[in-house]
């Protein structure tokens, strides 16, 4: 039997974190091993728990972009950035900082699972849940 993909999620919105957590855990092939609510917690958790994939918000206390950059410099590459805003300048910054993919916060369960599985295999993933212009 294949091992589950170990995921750490980071977001300061508790409702979104809960939703993301239950979505990921509902998939038999992956499991959330820790939840961070800011960048500092995220860095500590990744160093101590050695996850396979990180899914992180960009706008959270401690700066999500800096956390991605730091993790990338430490050799951790399987990072997915999440954002509320389409064409958010931060998404580009996140990819430049080392994120391997991004999903929008309005992404459905299937898309989130697909993103995690692809990034786990080091394949980039760019969100398909792009909302209309606003």
């Amino acid at each position: 039997m294949n091992k589950k993909i170990k995921v750490i999620i980071a977001d300061d919105h508790v409702f979104y974190r809960d939703g993301l957590c239950s979505t990921i855990n509902a998939d038999m092939g992956m499991q959330v091993i820790a939840e961070a609510r800011d960048a500092t917690q995220l860095l500590k958790m990744v160093r101590s728990l050695e996850p396979d994939v990180v899914v992180t918000d960009l706008r959270m206390p401690g700066d999500g972009i800096k956390a991605i950059q730091q993790l990338s410099e430490e050799g951790f590459l399987r990072i997915i950035a999440i954002s509320s805003f389409e064409n958010d300048d931060l998404i580009i910054e996140a990819l430049e900082a080392g994120a391997l993919g991004y999903v929008m916060k309005n992404a459905n369960r299937g898309e989130i699972e697909e993103a995690i599985k692809l990034v786990f295999d080091f394949i980039p993933y760019y969100s398909q849940s792009t909302p209309p212009d606003y």
Binding site: Y16, G19, N106, R109, I112, D133
Partner: protein, 230 residues
């Protein structure tokens, strides 16, 4: 004689000073209001929107449901989608990110498309200006919002023509509807018109623009706004 001239000049200077002060005060109030709108829009989208997305994900992840409860969950998910769409619409009205990201022309196109979709009023749009100063763009966008709100509420129009053009001296905004029109003089006497007209006038004043409002009964309204080119 000299005393009279001195007196008149003093009064004129005083009026000019008071006008400048009043304009500055209006400018500060409008800018502060715009910043507050931007903050609320961001919070609605980033905070409440994200929370609703999270709740939807949790609902989506519910397992072991029989047919009746599954249908109920799907129904709640659909209602959540509707709430999220309304929330986004409110956030967009408060501060359209497209204006900051892609400029006035694209923002107006999106605004007019939404206006036409929600009101059923046909729109003809033409913009021949390549680029706008960011401050001017925000005020023109807000003026357009106010005018379109007025048209949607009162005009009973079936068509709107919206054009922006520019020459060496001015940017000219023309919005013409084919609705029932209104009595411009009466509206002006009524404390400068309704809140919409007052907002349009205040923003136009900040741009040092001139507004020419013409209307005949059953012959629509023309809003012509001339903004000095920066």
């Amino acid at each position: 004689m000299a005393l009279v001239v001195f007196f008149v000049i003093t009064i004129l200077r005083y009026h000019r000073k008071m006008n400048n002060l009043r304009r500055e005060k209006i400018k500060e109030e409008i800018n502060s209001l715009d910043k507050e709108k931007e903050r609320i829009s961001f919070d609605l989208h980033d905070d409440l929107g994200a929370s609703l997305s999270g709740i939807k994900l949790r609902l989506h992840g519910l397992g072991g449901l029989d047919k009746v409860n599954f249908d109920k969950v799907v129904n709640i998910e659909n209602q959540l989608d509707e709430v999220m769409n309304r929330l986004k619409a409110v956030a967009v009205t408060l501060m359209p990110r497209i204006l900051q990201r892609r400029g006035l022309d694209k923002a107006l196109q999106a605004l007019l498309k939404e206006f036409s979709n929600t009101t059923g009023i046909e729109v003809t749009y033409k913009c021949t200006v390549d680029a706008f100063n960011a401050d001017i763009a925000v005020h023109i966008y807000r003026i357009a919002q106010e005018v379109l709100t007025n048209i949607a509420k009162h005009s009973k129009a079936s068509h709107v023509t919206f054009t922006i053009s520019r020459n060496r001296h001015k940017i000219e905004l023309n919005i013409i509807d084919n609705g029932i029109g209104f009595n411009v003089k009466a509206a002006s006497r009524n404390n400068g018109g309704g809140l919409g007209l007052q907002n349009i006038t205040a923003r136009a004043e900040l741009l040092k623009a001139e507004i020419f409002l013409t209307s005949d009964k059953n012959n629509g309204v023309t809003y012509q706004i001339e903004i000095p080119a920066a």
